[in-house]
Amino acid sequence: MTENVIGSAMVVGGGIGGIQSALDLANAGFFVYLVEKSPAIGGVMSALDKTFPTNDCSMCILSPKLVEVGRHRNIRLLTLSEVESVAGEAGNFTVTVRERPRYIDVEKCIACGKCAEKCPRKVKNEFNQGFSERKAAYVPYPQAVPLKYAIDAAHCIYFEKGKCRACEKFCPTGAVNFTQTETLHHIDVGAVILSPGFSPYNPAGVDRYGYGVLPNVITSMEFERILSASGPFEGHLVRPSDHQEPQKIAWLQCVGSRDIREDAHGYCSGICCMAAIKEALVAMEHAGSGLDTAIFYMDMRTHGKGFEQTFNQAREVAGVRFVRARVHSIEPADSHDLKITCFLDSGELHEEIFNLVVLSVGMEISKETRQLAEKLGVAVDSDGFAATSGFSPVATSRPGVFVSGAFAGPKDIPQTVVEASAAASASAALLAQARNRLTHERTYPDAMPVSGQTPRIGVFVCHCGTNIAGIVDVPSVRDYAQTLPDVVFATNNLFTCSQDTQQSIRQAIVEHGLNRVVVAACTPRTHEPLFQETLQEAGLNPYLFEFANIRDQNAWVHQKNPEAATQKARDLVRMAVARVSLLEAIEPLKIPVNPVALVIGAGVAGMSAALNLADQGFEIWLIERESQLGGHARQVRQIWNNEPVQPLLSCLIERVQNHESIHCLTGAEITAIDGFVGNFSTKVQTHQGLHTIAHGAVILATGGQPLQTTEYLCGQSGRVTTWHELEYLFDQYPEKLASATGIAFIQCVGSREPERPYCSRICCTASVQGAIRLKEKKPELRVVIFYRDMRTFGQREALYQKARGMGVIFIRYSAEDKPVVEVDAQGGLLITALDPILDRRLQIPVDYLNLATAIVPTEGQKQIAQMLKVPLNDDGFYLEAHVKLRPVDFSTDGVFVCGLAHYPKPIEESVAQGQAAASRASALLVKESIDIAPIVSVVDESRCIGCGLCEASCSFGAIRLKKVTGKGYRAENISALCKGCGVCAAACPQQAIDMKHFRETQILAALCAGAAA
């Protein structure tokens, strides 16, 4: 590697993966160029309606990240841009980026939408999948970042005919610029992360689906837009042909996936089963009762965290019909309806009429992405996915170029986010010596003292284009604000969030001597940080700010009643003014960070996390309960792609053991963890004695274990084994394999059961691989796998195909009718099970039976969770901060999770998650001190009577009684642990506890102003 390491990275692709990589790197001291080929970031996720399994609104959870990227000082967005070439080597690349002209000056554009309004050319809106139209001057979607219009040269009349330029004429800021040309940028970066994402499989031209010919056959991506509240039909569930509400909808799974024909892909796309369930549930929610939904599938692959529970709920509670059948054709029926023909399990021919058919299209790698890989010299496999290795899942074949998301194989959002963080930490380890070299810290002028001064309030009322002003009489709200006590300035703005308005807010603060600001606009959820920053830039403490939500909670919900909306806007402004006049400046709470991490568990996840952080330059304590490192991986033979595990594992262990920054403690037990983010103290008992370790972050990699079962004669017969035991038995006694004629595997032992409803994710692949190995050793061996749904997700599907090709027999069973295992007269095993294809009960004699038992959390997990006060889910696995977008974080700062402790997962996912946890931890550990939310409770000791109700009410151990000489006990707040909920303040009978920013007086002032309408 080069000595001239550059402290910046380029992320290619602005979907959720690219966004996460960019944020992680930029927050860890590296400058980031985020390259996106379209005019705005957001990727596929921005077009989804909801996300499974929680059915969170996709845009709601994505939007704050978009905003953060757009505002980040250390991220430079290059939209309409594509990478041409990458020269140089790891640590020191020069990337050539081609940026196409936007024909709109982003510095001048205020996103008022005039250009689009005046543009005479209508084109199909690709964001809405062509169900609606946009103009040639457009933004891809309303929440786009950057929120800047673009002119689509391919459709612009001026570019076609040489005249029009209506947009230019009407643009109020002169932002339209038809002279812009293509620009070539040569950018020096140390690392490159590829996250170009996937393209949905295009079923057009594939006869069997009738897509493109039959108007009511649509793809799942199109259905997402139909469901979306901001979509072409505003969330009204209608079908394309006649805009009527469908009564019956069918989903066809595996369209373009698990299909070895020329025009499709053999791999499983991994996400479509859950997507279809989600879409069916959301459709039923939209349509109310009476909507009939049917999902036609081969195997339901609901193998992720919380997925099986959603599947159960859809089937048992919501009444979604699941039909196991591969539909062979869709034909037109009367009035644009569709006739589906398929063979049911029973062998009977089934025909059914639906009003709408949704094709659950899979993922594929686009031609452009393949070309990108070729240009960069990055190897891809036969499916077009970037080639990676199980122990380095985000490294491509070219050193210094990393990959995340669907380009490295089909996957869902959380796994993409995990890989994105992993790619960031892999880059950070490479560039560690150049950290903080190219980044800028934001500095603000010293805040003016305001305490004791009479409030001088400025009120800024937003039109939000026509979003607010179309309903609310904005000038009258402004005039009303002017009459309120202490308001010395009030104005209205077309877009209060625009760059130029920030300038005018700063000016108003200075010119009018404002010491409090109210913005009446969209919602504080997305925009409060922006205005708080503007205040800081003008020398005002950011907490001297209040938001009046007059869009999301007013104009948008009272569209039919403009008068009432205007009156309510006045009321909300009055409440905000009353509150802001009592708000106080709050100084940031800084706490120092100890740049040491403690990693609990030295399996592959924990070791990957430890090694990455150590490579980034941090000191690590790696704690392992067993006497040696490696965890469960010590027993695993192969990654799904057939790479042997043991050599790779030995190499990883060796690197960990020899790393000078990693201290390993084996045979170690954690006895106590105290402290909080940046400042933990942990007691560890080993044979050598008790260690007390001070550290700033904790990574939980406590692993999992196979369930011990008594089902299927396990524990009673030596011929019944679990997981890896069978092959070890054969290794030890080859004669046992030599004499065996039949072997069986039973799947889902203890998983997908009422008491353990989740799917253990890895067992199908493990058993199929085991079956293949046995067949390879002894082709004449009869190998039978009893399964419920074969879940060889993603490219693992190739294993399933291979096993069937080798003659492995797959027999499906149901939870209600499990196989029965007996010892036969010869001492062998006899398995009786119903074969649903033959519809006959079979008796299969085998010599050995191997059980794929559930993966369960370790016993110690609960105690660790209690010590750190982090939550577990119903199944006993750690519960992350957000299932989609914060897959390795906890809501408790400074604590991270990876590996089986989070959920059962294969090795490559454990490695990626370990590296992701390292990425998240490094963003904390690089800082000398961190600002913690200063909205905390404060105790007035003189009023405290030491009753202890506060201590009892606090869920975070942030308030406790201390002994005060001569006074008994008094409450004391530990700000670093305080989460700012205010429960203690409400619990205190003496009103001795108040909460900053939500003080009693502040709440009551707003209340009084609101109640006295």
């Binding site: 909801k50 929680t54 059915n55 969170d56 609104c57 845009m59 709601c60 509240a229 901001s230 505003e234 969330g235 919602t523 504080p524 959820r525 939500n549 869009r551 999301d552 909670q553 007013n554 104009a555 948008w556 919900v557 009272h558 569209q559 039919k560 009643n561 009432a564 909306a565 009156q567 309510k568 009321d571 909300l572 409440m575 809501s891 909205i935 009410s953 869920s955 975070f956 989460k979 700012g980 909920c981 205010g982 429960v983 303040a985 409400a986 619990a987 909460m995 939500f998 009693e1000 709440i1003 009551l1004 707003a1006 209340l1007 009084c1008 609101g1010 109640a1011 006295a1012 309408a1013």
Partner: protein
């Protein structure tokens, strides 16, 4: 009078769930009566008995607290504490001879925009039927003399 009666209703919404659900109701362009005015709190656990009573005293005809789903509180159990306080205030109102239904507790997740609108409609209908708060109805003639 009661035909034209438009109640004033205060809703304490927690930042993480109910407030976000209210925003979602907006982005879904749902419709509910303009009588609801939202006051954001970090957690419904911050809402004190005093706040609820004070809202009524200051002239609100109804007041409700909307927090996360039970078990999903961002701060572990603030919403359960809020429920206790709401229950207590209902009792107090009944003892004072007022309708306890003027005060209510709701739970919803941030994804439940439609439920937020439903609650707003439900509460407005309920308070409309109850009529103006007695505190408003009788402007405390003797109180000033005290």
């Amino acid at each position: 009078m009661s035909d034209a009666f438009e109640p004033t209703i205060i809703a304490f919404c927690c930042k993480y769930c109910a407030y976000a659900a209210a925003d979602l109701a907006g982005s879904m362009r749902l419709s509910y009566p303009a009588n609801i005015k939202i006051s954001q709190v970090p957690c419904t656990g911050r809402v004190d008995i005093v706040h609820l009573l004070k809202a009524i005293e200051d002239g609100a005809d109804g007041v409700y607290v909307a927090g996360c789903m039970e078990g999903d509180c961002h701060f572990v159990s603030g919403n359960l504490k809020a429920l206790k306080r709401v229950t207590c205030v209902k009792k107090t109102l009944a003892e004072l001879g007022m309708e306890p239904e003027r005060v209510e507790m709701f739970n919803l997740s941030s994804a439940m925009g439609p439920r937020f609108a439903e609650i707003a409609i439900e509460m407005t209908d309920r308070i409309r039927k109850l009529g103006p708060s007695p505190v408003r109805r009788q402007p405390q003639p003797e109180a000033a003399a005290e």
